[in-house]
Amino acid sequence: MISANLLAVFYLISGVLFILALRGLSSPETSRQGNLFGIIGMALAISVTIISVGNFSTGFLYLLILLLIGGSIGTYIAFKIPMTAMPELVAGFHSLVGLAAVFVAISAFLNPEVFNLGLPGNIKIASLIEMSLGAAIGAITFTGSIIAFLKLRGIMSGSPITFFGQHYLNLLLGIILISLIFYLCKTQVDTWFWTIILISFLLGILLIIPIGGADMPVVISMLNSYSGWAAAGIGFTLENTALIITGALVGSSGAILSYIMCKGMNRSFFNVILGGWGATDQSSTNKSKEQKPVKNGNADDAAFLMKNASSVIIVPGYGMAVAQAQHALREMVDALKKNGVKVTYAIHPVAGRMPGHMNVLLAEANVPYDEVFELEEINNDFANCDVAYVIGANDVTNPVAKTDPQSPIYGMPILDVEKSKSVLFVKRSLSPGYAGIDNDLFYRDNTLMLFADAKKMTEDIIKSL
Protein backbone atom coordinates (compact mmCIF):
# COMPACT_ATOMS: atom_id res chain seq x y z
CA MET A 1 0.00 0.00 0.00
CA ILE A 2 0.94 3.60 -0.20
CA SER A 3 0.28 6.42 2.23
CA ALA A 4 -1.93 9.35 1.26
CA ASN A 5 0.96 11.77 1.65
CA LEU A 6 3.30 9.77 -0.53
CA LEU A 7 0.54 9.44 -3.10
CA ALA A 8 0.09 13.21 -3.15
CA VAL A 9 3.84 13.64 -3.72
CA PHE A 10 3.72 11.28 -6.69
CA TYR A 11 0.79 13.21 -8.17
CA LEU A 12 2.77 16.40 -7.72
CA ILE A 13 5.70 14.84 -9.58
CA SER A 14 3.52 13.87 -12.50
CA GLY A 15 2.08 17.38 -12.49
CA VAL A 16 5.61 18.77 -12.77
CA LEU A 17 6.41 16.33 -15.57
CA PHE A 18 3.37 17.63 -17.47
CA ILE A 19 4.64 21.19 -17.07
CA LEU A 20 7.98 20.06 -18.52
CA ALA A 21 6.13 18.41 -21.39
CA LEU A 22 4.66 21.75 -22.38
CA ARG A 23 7.92 23.56 -21.73
CA GLY A 24 9.65 21.26 -24.21
CA LEU A 25 7.47 22.61 -26.99
CA SER A 26 9.30 25.93 -26.94
CA SER A 27 11.53 24.54 -29.65
CA PRO A 28 11.33 21.54 -31.99
CA GLU A 29 14.64 20.18 -30.65
CA THR A 30 13.42 19.84 -27.08
CA SER A 31 9.87 18.90 -27.98
CA ARG A 32 10.40 15.16 -28.33
CA GLN A 33 12.01 14.99 -24.92
CA GLY A 34 9.08 17.00 -23.54
CA ASN A 35 6.63 14.50 -24.93
CA LEU A 36 8.58 11.75 -23.19
CA PHE A 37 8.24 13.61 -19.88
CA GLY A 38 4.51 13.73 -20.47
CA ILE A 39 4.35 9.98 -21.07
CA ILE A 40 6.36 9.28 -17.91
CA GLY A 41 4.12 11.60 -15.90
CA MET A 42 1.05 9.79 -17.15
CA ALA A 43 2.49 6.33 -16.48
CA LEU A 44 3.45 7.42 -12.96
CA ALA A 45 0.00 8.82 -12.18
CA ILE A 46 -1.73 5.68 -13.43
CA SER A 47 0.61 3.25 -11.62
CA VAL A 48 0.45 4.94 -8.22
CA THR A 49 -3.33 5.18 -8.48
CA ILE A 50 -3.63 1.45 -9.14
CA ILE A 51 -1.28 0.68 -6.24
CA SER A 52 -3.14 3.02 -3.90
CA VAL A 53 -6.50 1.43 -4.64
CA GLY A 54 -4.84 -1.90 -3.94
CA ASN A 55 -7.59 -3.96 -5.47
CA PHE A 56 -5.88 -6.66 -7.50
CA SER A 57 -8.87 -8.98 -7.88
CA THR A 58 -11.16 -9.29 -10.88
CA GLY A 59 -11.57 -5.53 -11.16
CA PHE A 60 -7.87 -5.13 -11.84
CA LEU A 61 -8.09 -7.66 -14.67
CA TYR A 62 -10.93 -5.68 -16.24
CA LEU A 63 -8.90 -2.53 -15.83
CA LEU A 64 -5.99 -4.02 -17.75
CA ILE A 65 -8.26 -5.33 -20.49
CA LEU A 66 -9.96 -1.94 -20.88
CA LEU A 67 -6.62 -0.13 -20.93
CA LEU A 68 -5.51 -2.52 -23.62
CA ILE A 69 -8.66 -2.02 -25.68
CA GLY A 70 -8.63 1.78 -25.33
CA GLY A 71 -4.88 1.88 -25.88
CA SER A 72 -5.07 -0.19 -29.06
CA ILE A 73 -7.82 1.98 -30.48
CA GLY A 74 -5.82 5.11 -29.63
CA THR A 75 -2.61 3.69 -31.07
CA TYR A 76 -4.36 2.59 -34.24
CA ILE A 77 -5.88 6.05 -34.75
CA ALA A 78 -2.59 7.80 -33.99
CA PHE A 79 -0.72 5.91 -36.70
CA LYS A 80 -3.45 5.78 -39.32
CA ILE A 81 -4.70 9.36 -39.25
CA PRO A 82 -3.53 11.51 -42.18
CA MET A 83 -1.96 14.79 -41.11
CA THR A 84 -4.59 16.75 -43.01
CA ALA A 85 -7.22 15.29 -40.68
CA MET A 86 -5.48 16.55 -37.55
CA PRO A 87 -8.08 19.25 -36.69
CA GLU A 88 -10.95 16.79 -36.57
CA LEU A 89 -8.82 14.28 -34.68
CA VAL A 90 -8.09 16.82 -31.97
CA ALA A 91 -11.77 17.79 -31.83
CA GLY A 92 -12.68 14.12 -31.52
CA PHE A 93 -10.16 13.60 -28.72
CA HIS A 94 -11.55 16.61 -26.86
CA SER A 95 -14.98 15.05 -26.91
CA LEU A 96 -13.58 11.92 -25.26
CA VAL A 97 -12.00 13.90 -22.40
CA GLY A 98 -15.29 15.73 -21.93
CA LEU A 99 -17.30 12.52 -21.77
CA ALA A 100 -14.77 10.87 -19.45
CA ALA A 101 -15.12 13.84 -17.08
CA VAL A 102 -18.91 13.44 -17.15
CA PHE A 103 -18.63 9.73 -16.38
CA VAL A 104 -16.22 10.23 -13.49
CA ALA A 105 -18.50 12.91 -12.06
CA ILE A 106 -21.53 10.59 -12.35
CA SER A 107 -19.60 7.83 -10.66
CA ALA A 108 -18.57 10.14 -7.83
CA PHE A 109 -22.15 11.32 -7.46
CA LEU A 110 -23.54 7.79 -7.27
CA ASN A 111 -20.88 6.43 -4.97
CA PRO A 112 -19.37 9.36 -3.02
CA GLU A 113 -17.99 7.22 -0.18
CA VAL A 114 -15.25 5.95 -2.47
CA PHE A 115 -13.84 9.44 -2.82
CA ASN A 116 -14.55 10.43 0.82
CA LEU A 117 -17.15 12.96 -0.25
CA GLY A 118 -19.91 11.90 2.15
CA LEU A 119 -22.87 9.60 1.61
CA PRO A 120 -25.33 9.47 -1.30
CA GLY A 121 -27.98 12.06 -0.59
CA ASN A 122 -25.65 13.82 1.81
CA ILE A 123 -22.61 14.85 -0.23
CA LYS A 124 -20.44 17.74 0.96
CA ILE A 125 -21.67 20.98 -0.61
CA ALA A 126 -18.26 22.01 -1.92
CA SER A 127 -17.79 18.63 -3.58
CA LEU A 128 -21.24 18.83 -5.06
CA ILE A 129 -20.49 22.20 -6.64
CA GLU A 130 -17.15 20.96 -7.97
CA MET A 131 -18.54 17.76 -9.44
CA SER A 132 -21.53 19.43 -11.04
CA LEU A 133 -19.29 22.11 -12.57
CA GLY A 134 -16.91 19.42 -13.80
CA ALA A 135 -19.80 17.42 -15.24
CA ALA A 136 -21.40 20.48 -16.85
CA ILE A 137 -18.20 21.71 -18.51
CA GLY A 138 -17.34 18.15 -19.52
CA ALA A 139 -20.76 17.71 -21.12
CA ILE A 140 -20.47 21.01 -23.01
CA THR A 141 -17.01 19.97 -24.21
CA PHE A 142 -18.38 16.60 -25.32
CA THR A 143 -21.26 17.74 -27.52
CA GLY A 144 -19.46 20.92 -28.61
CA SER A 145 -16.47 18.92 -29.81
CA ILE A 146 -18.72 16.50 -31.64
CA ILE A 147 -20.30 19.37 -33.57
CA ALA A 148 -16.83 20.78 -34.28
CA PHE A 149 -15.72 17.32 -35.43
CA LEU A 150 -18.71 16.96 -37.76
CA LYS A 151 -18.11 20.41 -39.24
CA LEU A 152 -14.39 19.83 -39.75
CA ARG A 153 -14.99 16.40 -41.22
CA GLY A 154 -17.47 17.92 -43.66
CA ILE A 155 -20.30 15.68 -42.46
CA MET A 156 -22.07 18.81 -41.31
CA SER A 157 -22.00 21.98 -43.38
CA GLY A 158 -19.36 24.47 -42.21
CA SER A 159 -21.74 27.38 -42.62
CA PRO A 160 -23.08 28.96 -39.44
CA ILE A 161 -26.51 27.84 -38.24
CA THR A 162 -28.32 30.77 -36.68
CA PHE A 163 -31.89 31.34 -35.62
CA PHE A 164 -33.84 34.08 -33.93
CA GLY A 165 -33.17 34.51 -30.23
CA GLN A 166 -30.30 32.05 -30.26
CA HIS A 167 -28.10 33.97 -27.87
CA TYR A 168 -30.96 34.61 -25.47
CA LEU A 169 -31.76 30.90 -25.45
CA ASN A 170 -28.13 30.11 -24.61
CA LEU A 171 -28.13 32.75 -21.91
CA LEU A 172 -31.36 31.31 -20.48
CA LEU A 173 -29.91 27.80 -20.47
CA GLY A 174 -26.80 29.11 -18.73
CA ILE A 175 -28.90 30.74 -16.01
CA ILE A 176 -30.99 27.57 -15.60
CA LEU A 177 -27.76 25.60 -15.27
CA ILE A 178 -26.50 27.78 -12.44
CA SER A 179 -29.86 27.68 -10.64
CA LEU A 180 -29.95 23.90 -10.96
CA ILE A 181 -26.51 23.59 -9.36
CA PHE A 182 -27.82 25.78 -6.55
CA TYR A 183 -30.92 23.58 -6.10
CA LEU A 184 -28.84 20.43 -6.27
CA CYS A 185 -26.75 21.65 -3.36
CA LYS A 186 -29.81 22.60 -1.41
CA THR A 187 -31.89 19.48 -1.94
CA GLN A 188 -29.36 16.77 -2.97
CA VAL A 189 -32.07 15.41 -5.30
CA ASP A 190 -30.42 13.41 -8.06
CA THR A 191 -32.94 14.51 -10.73
CA TRP A 192 -31.27 17.93 -10.71
CA PHE A 193 -27.89 16.33 -11.29
CA TRP A 194 -29.13 14.48 -14.39
CA THR A 195 -30.91 17.59 -15.65
CA ILE A 196 -27.67 19.58 -15.32
CA ILE A 197 -25.88 17.07 -17.52
CA LEU A 198 -28.67 17.00 -20.11
CA ILE A 199 -28.88 20.79 -20.35
CA SER A 200 -25.10 20.99 -20.69
CA PHE A 201 -25.18 18.51 -23.56
CA LEU A 202 -27.75 20.71 -25.27
CA LEU A 203 -25.81 23.89 -24.54
CA GLY A 204 -22.65 22.39 -26.06
CA ILE A 205 -24.47 21.85 -29.35
CA LEU A 206 -26.11 25.27 -29.35
CA LEU A 207 -22.84 27.06 -28.60
CA ILE A 208 -20.95 25.61 -31.56
CA ILE A 209 -23.53 25.47 -34.38
CA PRO A 210 -23.51 29.23 -35.08
CA ILE A 211 -19.74 29.27 -35.59
CA GLY A 212 -18.51 28.99 -39.17
CA GLY A 213 -15.86 26.74 -40.67
CA ALA A 214 -12.96 29.18 -40.83
CA ASP A 215 -13.48 30.18 -37.20
CA MET A 216 -12.73 26.60 -36.21
CA PRO A 217 -9.20 27.46 -34.96
CA VAL A 218 -10.84 29.50 -32.20
CA VAL A 219 -13.44 26.82 -31.48
CA ILE A 220 -10.91 24.01 -31.18
CA SER A 221 -8.72 26.09 -28.89
CA MET A 222 -11.73 27.03 -26.80
CA LEU A 223 -12.85 23.42 -26.44
CA ASN A 224 -9.27 22.53 -25.55
CA SER A 225 -9.52 25.07 -22.77
CA TYR A 226 -12.91 23.72 -21.62
CA SER A 227 -11.61 20.17 -21.42
CA GLY A 228 -8.92 21.51 -19.07
CA TRP A 229 -11.39 23.31 -16.82
CA ALA A 230 -13.55 20.17 -16.69
CA ALA A 231 -10.52 18.14 -15.59
CA ALA A 232 -9.69 20.74 -12.95
CA GLY A 233 -13.28 20.62 -11.64
CA ILE A 234 -13.04 16.85 -11.26
CA GLY A 235 -9.59 17.33 -9.71
CA PHE A 236 -11.10 19.46 -6.94
CA THR A 237 -13.80 16.86 -6.34
CA LEU A 238 -11.27 14.05 -6.08
CA GLU A 239 -8.79 16.23 -4.19
CA ASN A 240 -6.17 15.22 -6.72
CA THR A 241 -3.20 17.52 -7.34
CA ALA A 242 -2.18 16.00 -10.68
CA LEU A 243 -5.64 16.68 -12.08
CA ILE A 244 -5.81 20.20 -10.69
CA ILE A 245 -2.39 21.14 -12.10
CA THR A 246 -3.09 19.54 -15.45
CA GLY A 247 -6.54 21.07 -15.69
CA ALA A 248 -5.15 24.54 -15.01
CA LEU A 249 -2.34 24.06 -17.56
CA VAL A 250 -4.63 22.81 -20.30
CA GLY A 251 -7.27 25.40 -19.48
CA SER A 252 -4.87 28.31 -19.76
CA SER A 253 -3.17 26.81 -22.81
CA GLY A 254 -6.45 26.63 -24.71
CA ALA A 255 -7.39 30.11 -23.60
CA ILE A 256 -4.10 31.56 -24.86
CA LEU A 257 -4.45 29.79 -28.21
CA SER A 258 -7.99 31.16 -28.58
CA TYR A 259 -6.64 34.62 -27.84
CA ILE A 260 -3.84 34.27 -30.44
CA MET A 261 -6.34 33.07 -33.03
CA CYS A 262 -8.75 35.93 -32.33
CA LYS A 263 -5.91 38.42 -32.57
CA GLY A 264 -4.92 36.87 -35.91
CA MET A 265 -8.36 37.85 -37.18
CA ASN A 266 -8.56 41.14 -35.29
CA ARG A 267 -11.83 40.03 -33.74
CA SER A 268 -12.91 39.81 -30.16
CA PHE A 269 -13.49 36.43 -28.62
CA PHE A 270 -17.20 37.16 -28.19
CA ASN A 271 -17.53 38.25 -31.78
CA VAL A 272 -16.29 34.82 -32.86
CA ILE A 273 -18.27 32.86 -30.30
CA LEU A 274 -21.51 34.63 -31.08
CA GLY A 275 -20.87 33.51 -34.64
CA GLY A 276 -22.58 34.17 -37.92
CA TRP A 277 -19.77 36.16 -39.53
CA GLY A 278 -19.92 36.36 -43.29
CA ALA A 279 -23.58 35.45 -43.33
CA THR A 280 -24.76 38.99 -42.69
CA ASP A 281 -22.33 41.64 -43.87
CA GLN A 282 -21.07 40.30 -47.17
CA SER A 283 -23.66 41.81 -49.47
CA SER A 284 -22.67 45.47 -49.55
CA THR A 285 -18.98 45.29 -50.30
CA ASN A 286 -18.58 43.05 -53.29
CA LYS A 287 -21.42 43.79 -55.72
CA SER A 288 -19.77 46.50 -57.82
CA LYS A 289 -16.52 44.70 -58.44
CA GLU A 290 -17.86 41.63 -60.24
CA GLN A 291 -16.73 42.42 -63.77
CA LYS A 292 -13.15 43.56 -63.29
CA PRO A 293 -10.58 41.97 -65.56
CA VAL A 294 -8.13 39.45 -64.16
CA LYS A 295 -4.94 38.14 -65.67
CA ASN A 296 -5.22 34.45 -66.25
CA GLY A 297 -2.09 32.33 -66.42
CA ASN A 298 -1.10 28.71 -66.85
CA ALA A 299 1.52 26.43 -65.38
CA ASP A 300 4.15 27.39 -67.96
CA ASP A 301 3.83 31.07 -67.15
CA ALA A 302 4.13 30.34 -63.46
CA ALA A 303 7.14 28.08 -63.98
CA PHE A 304 8.84 30.72 -66.09
CA LEU A 305 8.24 33.46 -63.54
CA MET A 306 9.48 31.43 -60.60
CA LYS A 307 12.48 29.93 -62.38
CA ASN A 308 13.77 33.39 -63.19
CA ALA A 309 13.07 34.79 -59.75
CA SER A 310 15.76 35.10 -57.12
CA SER A 311 13.41 34.75 -54.19
CA VAL A 312 10.00 33.17 -53.85
CA ILE A 313 7.70 33.18 -50.81
CA ILE A 314 5.07 30.47 -50.54
CA VAL A 315 1.82 31.38 -48.78
CA PRO A 316 -0.14 28.24 -47.94
CA GLY A 317 -3.72 28.16 -46.66
CA TYR A 318 -6.56 25.79 -45.98
CA GLY A 319 -6.93 25.08 -49.72
CA MET A 320 -3.53 23.39 -49.65
CA ALA A 321 -4.77 21.04 -46.94
CA VAL A 322 -7.98 20.28 -48.83
CA ALA A 323 -6.09 19.50 -52.03
CA GLN A 324 -3.36 17.58 -50.12
CA ALA A 325 -0.89 19.62 -52.11
CA GLN A 326 1.90 19.83 -49.52
CA HIS A 327 4.06 17.06 -51.02
CA ALA A 328 3.76 18.40 -54.56
CA LEU A 329 4.58 21.83 -53.18
CA ARG A 330 7.78 20.57 -51.57
CA GLU A 331 8.82 18.94 -54.85
CA MET A 332 8.21 22.19 -56.68
CA VAL A 333 10.33 24.04 -54.13
CA ASP A 334 13.12 21.45 -54.51
CA ALA A 335 13.09 21.99 -58.25
CA LEU A 336 13.23 25.75 -57.76
CA LYS A 337 16.11 25.45 -55.34
CA LYS A 338 18.06 23.50 -57.92
CA ASN A 339 17.69 26.56 -60.12
CA GLY A 340 19.19 28.68 -57.39
CA VAL A 341 15.96 30.28 -56.25
CA LYS A 342 15.68 31.18 -52.57
CA VAL A 343 12.38 29.87 -51.22
CA THR A 344 10.71 30.53 -47.87
CA TYR A 345 7.24 29.90 -46.48
CA ALA A 346 4.99 32.48 -44.82
CA ILE A 347 2.28 31.32 -42.44
CA HIS A 348 -0.58 33.40 -41.16
CA PRO A 349 -1.70 32.63 -37.58
CA VAL A 350 -5.19 31.60 -38.68
CA ALA A 351 -4.26 29.76 -41.88
CA GLY A 352 -5.96 26.37 -41.86
CA ARG A 353 -8.44 24.98 -39.42
CA MET A 354 -6.43 24.84 -36.20
CA PRO A 355 -3.44 26.61 -34.67
CA GLY A 356 -0.24 25.47 -36.37
CA HIS A 357 -2.14 23.42 -38.96
CA MET A 358 0.01 24.54 -41.93
CA ASN A 359 3.27 23.97 -40.03
CA VAL A 360 2.39 20.34 -39.41
CA LEU A 361 1.48 19.74 -43.05
CA LEU A 362 4.73 21.30 -44.26
CA ALA A 363 6.69 19.31 -41.70
CA GLU A 364 4.96 16.19 -42.99
CA ALA A 365 6.16 17.03 -46.50
CA ASN A 366 9.73 17.26 -45.11
CA VAL A 367 9.97 21.01 -45.32
CA PRO A 368 12.67 22.03 -42.80
CA TYR A 369 11.08 24.13 -40.06
CA ASP A 370 13.74 26.81 -40.34
CA GLU A 371 12.42 27.73 -43.79
CA VAL A 372 8.96 28.37 -42.39
CA PHE A 373 8.19 31.79 -40.92
CA GLU A 374 5.39 33.40 -38.98
CA LEU A 375 3.63 36.57 -40.07
CA GLU A 376 5.71 39.09 -38.11
CA GLU A 377 8.99 37.42 -39.00
CA ILE A 378 8.52 37.48 -42.74
CA ASN A 379 6.09 40.25 -43.57
CA ASN A 380 8.78 42.80 -44.44
CA ASP A 381 10.39 40.38 -46.88
CA PHE A 382 7.52 40.53 -49.35
CA ALA A 383 8.72 43.93 -50.55
CA ASN A 384 12.02 42.36 -51.66
CA CYS A 385 10.65 39.17 -53.07
CA ASP A 386 10.11 38.45 -56.76
CA VAL A 387 7.23 36.01 -56.62
CA ALA A 388 4.66 35.21 -53.96
CA TYR A 389 3.02 31.85 -54.57
CA VAL A 390 -0.36 31.86 -52.81
CA ILE A 391 -1.72 28.35 -52.56
CA GLY A 392 -5.10 27.89 -50.94
CA ALA A 393 -5.00 31.07 -48.88
CA ASN A 394 -7.30 34.00 -49.57
CA ASP A 395 -8.67 36.31 -46.88
CA VAL A 396 -5.33 36.44 -45.06
CA THR A 397 -3.78 38.12 -48.12
CA ASN A 398 -6.56 40.59 -48.85
CA PRO A 399 -5.22 44.18 -48.87
CA VAL A 400 -8.74 45.42 -48.16
CA ALA A 401 -8.00 44.64 -44.51
CA LYS A 402 -5.66 47.63 -44.55
CA THR A 403 -7.49 50.01 -46.84
CA ASP A 404 -11.25 49.71 -46.41
CA PRO A 405 -12.66 50.53 -42.97
CA GLN A 406 -16.07 49.27 -44.17
CA SER A 407 -14.77 45.77 -44.74
CA PRO A 408 -15.58 43.13 -42.15
CA ILE A 409 -11.93 42.09 -42.08
CA TYR A 410 -10.64 45.64 -41.68
CA GLY A 411 -7.76 45.70 -39.22
CA MET A 412 -6.97 42.02 -39.53
CA PRO A 413 -3.21 41.54 -39.83
CA ILE A 414 -2.50 40.24 -43.33
CA LEU A 415 0.49 38.92 -45.20
CA ASP A 416 1.69 41.76 -47.44
CA VAL A 417 1.64 39.61 -50.53
CA GLU A 418 0.71 42.56 -52.75
CA LYS A 419 4.12 44.15 -52.15
CA SER A 420 6.01 41.42 -53.98
CA LYS A 421 6.92 42.00 -57.64
CA SER A 422 4.43 39.42 -58.87
CA VAL A 423 1.82 37.28 -57.24
CA LEU A 424 0.78 33.84 -58.39
CA PHE A 425 -2.60 33.00 -56.97
CA VAL A 426 -3.65 29.37 -57.20
CA LYS A 427 -7.38 29.11 -56.79
CA ARG A 428 -10.21 27.14 -58.28
CA SER A 429 -12.41 30.13 -59.09
CA LEU A 430 -12.82 33.84 -58.39
CA SER A 431 -15.27 33.13 -55.59
CA PRO A 432 -14.72 35.10 -52.41
CA GLY A 433 -13.18 33.46 -49.36
CA TYR A 434 -14.77 32.63 -46.07
CA ALA A 435 -15.33 36.22 -45.03
CA GLY A 436 -17.51 36.58 -48.12
CA ILE A 437 -15.59 39.52 -49.49
CA ASP A 438 -13.87 39.95 -52.78
CA ASN A 439 -10.09 39.84 -52.74
CA ASP A 440 -8.66 43.00 -54.26
CA LEU A 441 -5.48 41.15 -55.04
CA PHE A 442 -7.11 39.20 -57.89
CA TYR A 443 -7.39 42.32 -60.02
CA ARG A 444 -3.95 43.81 -59.49
CA ASP A 445 -1.62 44.19 -62.45
CA ASN A 446 1.07 42.12 -60.84
CA THR A 447 -1.25 39.23 -60.03
CA LEU A 448 -1.49 36.18 -62.22
CA MET A 449 -4.43 33.93 -61.44
CA LEU A 450 -3.86 30.21 -61.84
CA PHE A 451 -7.30 28.63 -61.95
CA ALA A 452 -6.90 24.98 -60.98
CA ASP A 453 -6.82 22.54 -58.14
CA ALA A 454 -3.87 23.43 -55.93
CA LYS A 455 -2.22 20.04 -56.21
CA LYS A 456 -2.73 19.64 -59.94
CA MET A 457 -1.43 23.13 -60.71
CA THR A 458 1.65 22.59 -58.56
CA GLU A 459 2.36 19.29 -60.30
CA ASP A 460 1.98 20.94 -63.71
CA ILE A 461 4.45 23.62 -62.69
CA ILE A 462 6.96 20.95 -61.67
CA LYS A 463 6.67 19.44 -65.16
CA SER A 464 7.30 22.80 -66.79
CA LEU A 465 10.30 23.62 -64.64
Binding site: I39, T75, A242, I244, G251, L257, G356, N359
Partner: protein, 103 residues
Amino acid sequence: MEIDPFIFRFSIFILSIFIGYYVVWSVTPSLHTPLMSVTNAISSVIIVGAIIAALAGEAGNIFDTANIFGFLAIILAAVNIFGGFLVTQRMLAMYKKKKKDKK
Protein backbone atom coordinates in the same frame (compact mmCIF):
# COMPACT_ATOMS: atom_id res chain seq x y z
CA MET B 1 -7.88 28.49 13.30
CA GLU B 2 -7.25 25.86 10.72
CA ILE B 3 -7.15 26.52 7.00
CA ASP B 4 -9.54 24.49 4.91
CA PRO B 5 -7.53 22.12 2.64
CA PHE B 6 -9.63 23.45 -0.23
CA ILE B 7 -7.70 26.69 0.01
CA PHE B 8 -4.43 24.85 -0.54
CA ARG B 9 -5.81 23.10 -3.59
CA PHE B 10 -7.20 26.37 -4.84
CA SER B 11 -3.74 27.96 -4.44
CA ILE B 12 -2.20 25.16 -6.47
CA PHE B 13 -4.86 25.73 -9.10
CA ILE B 14 -4.28 29.47 -9.38
CA LEU B 15 -0.49 29.14 -9.45
CA SER B 16 -0.75 26.42 -12.10
CA ILE B 17 -2.79 28.75 -14.28
CA PHE B 18 0.08 31.24 -14.10
CA ILE B 19 2.63 28.54 -14.89
CA GLY B 20 0.47 27.49 -17.83
CA TYR B 21 0.23 31.08 -18.99
CA TYR B 22 3.98 31.64 -19.13
CA VAL B 23 4.87 28.19 -20.42
CA VAL B 24 2.35 28.31 -23.23
CA TRP B 25 3.39 31.78 -24.38
CA SER B 26 6.89 30.43 -24.85
CA VAL B 27 5.68 27.65 -27.15
CA THR B 28 6.77 28.37 -30.70
CA PRO B 29 3.76 29.00 -33.00
CA SER B 30 4.88 26.29 -35.41
CA LEU B 31 4.27 23.74 -32.64
CA HIS B 32 0.76 24.86 -31.78
CA THR B 33 -0.84 21.76 -33.23
CA PRO B 34 1.37 19.38 -31.20
CA LEU B 35 0.63 21.61 -28.20
CA MET B 36 -3.07 20.93 -28.63
CA SER B 37 -2.62 17.20 -29.02
CA VAL B 38 -0.30 16.92 -26.03
CA THR B 39 -2.52 19.02 -23.76
CA ASN B 40 -5.30 16.75 -24.86
CA ALA B 41 -3.28 13.71 -23.87
CA ILE B 42 -2.30 15.05 -20.45
CA SER B 43 -5.83 16.17 -19.61
CA SER B 44 -6.69 12.47 -19.83
CA VAL B 45 -4.98 12.12 -16.46
CA ILE B 46 -8.63 12.19 -15.45
CA ILE B 47 -8.19 8.43 -15.81
CA VAL B 48 -6.95 8.36 -12.18
CA GLY B 49 -10.47 9.33 -11.10
CA ALA B 50 -11.88 6.69 -13.40
CA ILE B 51 -9.60 4.00 -11.95
CA ILE B 52 -10.60 4.84 -8.38
CA ALA B 53 -14.27 4.89 -9.38
CA ALA B 54 -14.03 1.59 -11.20
CA LEU B 55 -12.00 -0.43 -8.70
CA ALA B 56 -13.35 0.86 -5.42
CA GLY B 57 -16.09 -0.89 -3.51
CA GLU B 58 -16.35 -4.46 -2.45
CA ALA B 59 -14.40 -6.87 -4.57
CA GLY B 60 -17.45 -9.05 -5.21
CA ASN B 61 -19.63 -6.22 -6.39
CA ILE B 62 -17.61 -4.63 -9.14
CA PHE B 63 -20.54 -4.04 -11.49
CA ASP B 64 -22.33 -1.40 -9.56
CA THR B 65 -23.58 1.44 -11.81
CA ALA B 66 -20.91 3.71 -10.34
CA ASN B 67 -18.18 1.20 -11.22
CA ILE B 68 -19.48 0.78 -14.76
CA PHE B 69 -19.26 4.52 -15.38
CA GLY B 70 -15.70 4.33 -14.07
CA PHE B 71 -14.84 1.55 -16.50
CA LEU B 72 -16.37 3.45 -19.40
CA ALA B 73 -14.31 6.50 -18.49
CA ILE B 74 -11.19 4.31 -18.41
CA ILE B 75 -11.69 3.24 -22.03
CA LEU B 76 -12.30 6.82 -23.21
CA ALA B 77 -9.30 8.18 -21.36
CA ALA B 78 -7.09 5.30 -22.55
CA VAL B 79 -7.94 6.04 -26.19
CA ASN B 80 -6.96 9.63 -25.55
CA ILE B 81 -3.75 8.92 -23.68
CA PHE B 82 -2.33 6.53 -26.25
CA GLY B 83 -3.76 8.38 -29.23
CA GLY B 84 -2.74 11.80 -27.93
CA PHE B 85 0.85 11.04 -26.98
CA LEU B 86 1.55 8.88 -30.02
CA VAL B 87 0.12 11.30 -32.54
CA THR B 88 2.15 14.08 -30.88
CA GLN B 89 5.25 11.91 -31.15
CA ARG B 90 4.47 11.26 -34.80
CA MET B 91 4.07 14.94 -35.53
CA LEU B 92 7.17 16.02 -33.63
CA ALA B 93 9.26 13.42 -35.46
CA MET B 94 8.47 15.26 -38.70
CA TYR B 95 9.91 18.59 -37.62
CA LYS B 96 13.39 18.59 -39.06
CA LYS B 97 16.07 21.16 -39.57
CA LYS B 98 17.54 21.93 -42.92
CA LYS B 99 20.12 19.34 -43.89
CA LYS B 100 23.49 20.78 -44.81
CA ASP B 101 24.34 18.13 -47.39
CA LYS B 102 21.42 18.13 -49.76
CA LYS B 103 20.98 15.04 -51.83
